[in-house]
Amino acid sequence: MTTTILPDEKGHFGTYGGRYVPETLMQAILELEKEYEKAKVDPAFQNELNDLLRDYVGRETPLYYAKNLTKYAGGGKIYLKREDLNHTGAHKINNSLGQALLTKRMGKSKVVAETGAGQHGVATATACALLNLECVIFMGEEDILRQQLNVFRMEILGAKVISVKSGSATLKDAVNEALRYWVSNVEDTHYILGSAMGPHPFPKIVRDFQSVIGQETKKQFIKKEAKLPEAIVACIGGGSNAIGMFYPFLEDREVKLYGVEAAGLGLHSEKHAASLAKGKPGILHGAYMYLLQNEDGQIQEAHSISAGLDYPGIGPEHCYLHDIERVKYDAITDDEALEALQVLSKTEGIIPALESAHAISYAIKLAKEMEPTEHIVVCLSGRGDKDMEAVRSKIGGVKA
């Protein structure tokens, strides 16, 4: 069966996805789809994006053989796809730039976005500064506290950051407010959704803009090892770095794919963000997807030490890949991620984002079960600078 032709024309991945949005947004969503399909086959658009990705973002990013981490794990060889070396420090810029160019193409002058860890907010504020677009970012109050530095970065870049106090005051609530803002300003504003979720065509658009990760990885890996890797690992909030990494490998059945959700304080606790492991399908933010919810269909709060994984849903394409068992999904706890962050820092001199540390932790476990002739590629989705305050408050540090 071929898995790469989805979504269908109504935006469904199997039963997942779709466009469950207020009627006021339907026109904008249909227009976005139309413009995107045109842009996709327009060489001028693709050239402009590719030039920016090369000269502004710094692509392609390296595929780095982590010798010391491999030795530490003891088993399969671990490669890191260095999305942390992108301008602004994470994979998020791949999508933000693409969508900012689409915004211009649609003749809109303003952008709204949500952000959790602040990485998507920073990337979007950056793209908007570059392309002269007005930018409003919604961010949960809780996340603003966790990610002070990123809030200030967005402001320096000229974006207006609005604190969201409703609900759990994290990513889910920031999406609610961004959607409400979009409904109210739809005529001149585009919503740059930050992950492979939300109503069609967002899951597809975000996947396509992020697929550069997997495409480069494939080429680079073949060049280095003259084969495909046995395994690929990526962390999952809404699922954009993971789907971008996985998508070009979906038809390569011999490559095992692993998506890592946040297990927070543990899957047995109520405090985690493992939508696939512990949720059931439902509708939130425009899509049918696995959701953390109670029996009455009320959405439950997610928990993760990493703000970027702190979301009670998971993009529809991942739900589909889960059900057909093309990708194996598992979860890593806060403590395991904290430890992996320190291990990678000490062994390789690379401080990963807390989100990416979930993937690192899982890869270390996986490597132990693999032969030295086998290979794992980890998507190192972002760098850890933004998390230093949060990590210090957990593990301490020298004070003056």
Binding site: T24, D173, V183
Partner: protein
């Protein structure tokens, strides 16, 4: 014939305009719902929209969001609301319409929900996160028990789309008056009147306008261009304040002769 269809046929014959207030089920406890419905019926409401609280109401502004939070804080469930309606229905003779988002319905089970609300005496359903592209997910269940799905058209919907939407169903069409979410407003965009006239000229269904309508002056003005109004946030505010007199004034504004 469904109660909604019947009421609008009568209104048309008598040249009357509709007033549909909104209440949030569970806000103030489920026991207060009966009192509220009885009051609104007696005050002259044409039909009543009953909101089902949801944790993430993206189409709603602060007033309805907070009413929903108050309701959820009482741990009210959809099952209890459906049961409560079954008890209240015998003393309410006007149409009752549930307004809710998709997820609570999915959790309940769409087929079972459709059957249960029918036996509880609900006549229609408004689902703000269900555009026509996705409505097949529930329409066959609703059709089977003759519950009307009330669809929305907005300032953003082009003519062909308005035509497509309004040819479906037998109830009424909900014309959203603003680019935005629910909540009281001081005024409306200047193109609203021509937009409502356009919908009215296309739609075989009665056209009811809603979102932001807050004063008797709004009611009178908007009724020049359509068949009725839906008032949500303002009703909730007035009920919170115990201001039944102003609710009556709002409802009575539909009865003034149209200039």
């Amino acid at each position: 014939m469904n109660r909604i269809e019947k009421v609008f046929q009568t209104m048309k014959k008598e040249g009357k305009k509709a007033f549909v207030p909104y209440v949030m089920a569970g806000d103030g406890g489920l026991t207060s719902l009966k009192e509220k419905l009885v009051f609104l019926q007696e005050a002259g409401a044409t039909a009543i929209e009953i909101g089902i609280p949801f944790s993430d109401p993206v189409a709603d502004g602060p007033v309805i969001q907070e009413a929903g939070i108050r309701a959820l804080n009482t741990d009210v469930t959809l099952k209890e609301i459906v049961e409560c309606m079954r008890e209240i229905r015998p003393i309410i003779h006007i149409p009752l319409i549930f307004m809710t988002y998709m997820n609570p319905l999915l959790a309940y089970g769409l087929e079972r929900f459709s059957r249960d609300i029918q036996t509880s005496g609900i006549d229609g359903l408004i689902i703000p996160d269900l555009p026509i592209e996705e409505e097949e997910i529930i329409t066959s269940y609703l059709d089977e028990v003759k519950i009307e799905l009330i669809r929305l058209v907005t300032l953003q919907s082009p003519i062909e789309r308005i035509a497509e939407i309004t040819k479906r169903g037998k109830g009424f069409v909900y014309a959203v008056t603003v680019n935005g979410i629910t909540g009281t407003r001081a005024q409306f965009a200047s193109q609203l009147s021509s937009h409502l006239e356009k919908i009215k000229s296309i739609s075989p269904l009665p056209v009811l306008a809603g979102f932001g309508i807050s004063t008797p002056e709004h009611v009178e003005e908007i009724l020049q261009y359509c068949d009725g109004v839906i008032v949500g946030s303002k009703i909730i505010e007035l009920m919170e304040a115990g201001n039944n007199e102003q609710i009556r004034t709002l409802i009575n504004a539909t009865k003034l002769p149209i200039a």
